[in-house]
């Protein structure tokens, strides 16, 4: 068996590849559903209904998609430069911490000033945590996969400490949670009788901005060039280390904003269960979208739908909701293969 590069991959195939891959993942997971003894079609119907079947379901899916768009963008931008940022979860919590620190009364500003300040502070906090591994990568050639991953654990323990210590809300009846964000710092809801908040618009604008930067600016070009061939980029005069740091700031910043959004848009205060792994799911979002910023929006809605739908399916029939995670993981692997099959042709011999 041998792989042969296609001279010009057919465009219809490139377009269909992710859809076919997701289809393959659905078929694979059908096996798991069959094993539980439930009807496959009924289960998937319940999943779709739970994700988009009603006004409430749709609003929940959009609410869930909001942080996923941002963490997905964070992964997409970094992976473009081959900066393997697996630390989205930690960066998200750093953003949430910054918003909590400044938004619970430390700053007394009107809403139109306070909200942007919180977003910027969160972005800076998220970016700062990623700059450290990026610097270590530049200076010492230490692989950033492991450092960013391990930082997640460190940051979560740090947040745990703050929530049980200095940041603990004395009014919280013993729960480890921070004081609530003051009213001026809260994002308005954008749909009545739902949890959907302005964060969604911010996330969509971020996706648009990242797409514009990647497509039309020198920064975007440099990021892509460094990712494709760092040595080549260096020869053509691009400051590779500088580009890596800049990418780290953007990527960590986006994940930080995701954390701010969850605190000031959804929960209103910081807890340890703020994120059920949005940082990690963001990687899946970016991989499904093949690192394209607009594709990230689509795949974030899709994955959010799977998670929300699986929750509601799990309540109706006897299928563990972990099916959602399996479905997401197998979609990611199937997409990887499909993209490969678009670029290469398998030949015998």
């Amino acid at each position: 068996m041998r792989l042969e590069l296609r001279e010009s991959p057919p465009i219809w195939l490139a377009g269909m590849a992710p859809i076919l891959a997701v289809g393959a993942a659905l078929v694979l997971c059908a096996g798991l559903i069959a094993w539980t003894g439930e009807s496959v079609l009924e289960a998937y119907a319940l999943l779709v209904k739970g994700a988009v079947g009603s006004r409430f379901a749709l609003a929940e899916t959009l609410t869930r998609a909001t942080p996923l768009i941002l963490t997905g963008l964070a992964a997409a931008v970094a992976f473009r430069a081959k900066l393997w940022n697996i630390g989205g979860e930690g960066q998200l919590y750093m953003g949430a911490l910054a918003a909590t620190w400044l938004g619970t009364g430390a700053l007394d500003l009107p809403a139109f000033l306070l909200i942007p300040v919180l977003l910027i502070a969160g972005a800076l906090a998220g970016g700062a945590v990623l700059v450290v591994p990026a610097l270590i990568k530049n200076k010492l050639r230490v692989d950033e996969v492991v450092t960013t991953l391990l930082l997640n654990f460190i940051i979560l323990l740090f947040v745990n400490y703050l929530l049980e210590g200095p940041l603990k809300d004395p009014m919280s009846l013993g729960w480890p949670q921070a004081a609530p964000i003051i009213d001026e710092g809260l994002l308005p809801k954008i749909l009545e009788k739902s949890r959907l908040h302005l964060g969604l618009i911010i996330a969509l604008l971020a996706a648009l901005a990242i797409w514009l930067v990647m497509r039309f600016t020198v920064w975007g070009f440099e990021i892509k060039a460094v990712g494709l061939n760092a040595r080549g980029a260096a020869f053509s005069g691009i400051n590779v280390n500088g580009t890596i740091i800049r990418t780290a700031l953007i990527s960590g910043g986006l994940a930080g904003i995701a954390g701010v959004g969850e605190v000031i848009g959804l929960k209103g205060y910081l807890t340890l269960d703020l994120s059920p792994g949005f940082g990690y799911t963001g990687i899946a979002v970016a991989m499904l979208a093949q690192l394209h910023p607009i594709g990230v929006v689509v795949s974030a809605f899709f994955l959010a739908g799977i998670y929300v739908g699986a929750d509601s399916m799990g309540r109706a029939v006897n299928i563990p909701t972990y099916l959602a995670d399996v479905l997401v993981a197998s979609s990611v692997l199937c997409v990887l293969v499909s993209v490969m099959l678009v670029r290469f042709r398998i030949r015998r011999g």
């Binding site: 068996m1 041998r2 792989l3 798991l32 094993w35 539980t36 992976f79 393997w84 697996i86 270590i136 010492l140 050639r141 230490v142 692989d143 996969v145 492991v146 450092t147 991953l149 391990l150 930082l151 654990f153 460190i154 323990l157 740090f158 745990n160 400490y161 049980e164 210590g165 990690y280 990687i283 899946a284 991989m287 006897n318 563990p320 972990y322 099916l323 995670d325 399996v326 997401v328 993981a329 197998s330 990611v332 692997l333 990887l336 293969v337 490969m340």
Partner: protein, 315 residues
């Protein structure tokens, strides 16, 4: 300070070896994969899978060693999947590995919930019991600590010796190391590079899985959600710390586990008054990062690590 006192207790040394065991398995497994030129970031998920699979085997009525073998087999299957993607299809080892971790850990949770839907408190099994080696266990201090461990810890120590010998003194080991350094040379010998790499990844993944199984079958007696808790990633860091050598991997795992065992005891002595417990819990992760930073200058990566091999490509 009481640290010296702690260092002299047998309990400390016994705990060090116990904490080190899953790290030894995991680090050896990752080391074999990387020596053959394949980074395996599926380790965290494969360890979770091994923890679930081995435990479930015993819970369903199988015997303990059968559970270890089952965990190894399942690990191998995920290794096969990883090498199918990275070795045969030449996909990004980073991305595939993370995908494998997502898949393996979510599948373990799914299967666990599927087979035990109503378990609110994790059900327990009868785990491996410590086995005192005759004569050796009568020695002072090291007798009750080193030679009174569970059989899986002895297995881990045997694995270090076997893998050292296998990698450095056998033709198969030479082929594995060459596949990671200079795959073209392997090809020139008429050996199938892809098969060598696949075999190495499968064996390595089996070891990772057994390391996970140690957690549920020896260290504890139940499967918890999130119980691997970053041990897999720590193993990846330890491989770098060990400069890809089995002997140093053992040393690294022991050093690491020793500091971990020490922090628990210092924490108990200090009563948690001076330093909050979360900072003690951070220690292993901070140490891993420090270990990588310190060793980075001397890190001699296998030259073909991360590079897919395609037959007929020119170097």
């Amino acid at each position: 300070m009481d640290i010296l006192e702690i260092l002299l207790t047998t309990g400390f040394w016994a705990a060090t070896l116990r904490i080190a065991t899953p790290l030894i398995f995991g680090t050896l497994g990752e080391l074999i994969c990387e020596r053959a030129g394949v980074l395996n970031l599926g380790i965290e998920g494969i360890m979770t899978m091994g923890a679930m699979a081995g435990w479930m085997w015993v819970y369903q009525g199988g015997d303990l060693w059968g559970g270890v073998a089952f965990a190894a087999f399942i690990g191998m299957m995920f290794g096969l999947l990883h090498s199918g993607f990275t070795v045969y299809l030449g996909l990004s080892q980073h991305v595939t590995g993370i995908g494998i971790t997502l898949l393996a850990s979510s599948l373990s949770y799914f299967v666990f919930r599927m087979l035990l839907p109503d378990a609110t408190t994790p059900p327990k099994i009868e785990p491996f019991q410590p086995y005192a080696i005759p004569l050796l266990s009568d020695l002072p201090v090291i007798g009750p600590s080193v030679f009174t461990q569970t059989p899986m810890t002895y297995l881990a120590l045997i694995c270090v010796a076997v893998i050292w010998y296998g990698l450095n003194r056998t033709p198969v080991g030479l082929a594995v190391r060459m596949a990671g350094e200079n795959p073209l040379a392997v090809e020139a010998q008429g050996i199938d590079v892809l098969a060598v790499r696949t075999g190495a990844v499968m064996v390595g993944s089996a070891l990772m899985s057994v390391g996970g199984a140690f957690l549920t079958m020896s260290a504890f007696d139940a499967f918890y959600f999130g119980m691997v808790n970053g041990r897999g990633w720590i193993c990846v860091a330890l491989v770098i710390f060990a400069s890809w050598r089995p002997g140093k991997a053992l040393l690294g795992a022991l050093l690491f586990a020793g500091i971990d065992a020490l922090q628990v005891r210092v924490q108990q002595v200090s009563g948690g008054a001076a330093i909050p417990y979360q900072f003690f819990l951070m220690a292993p992760y901070v140490l891993s990062i420090l270990a990588m930073v310190v060793m980075a200058r001397r890190a001699a990566y296998p030259k073909a690590l991360l590079a897919p091999f395609r037959r007929g490509d020119r170097a």
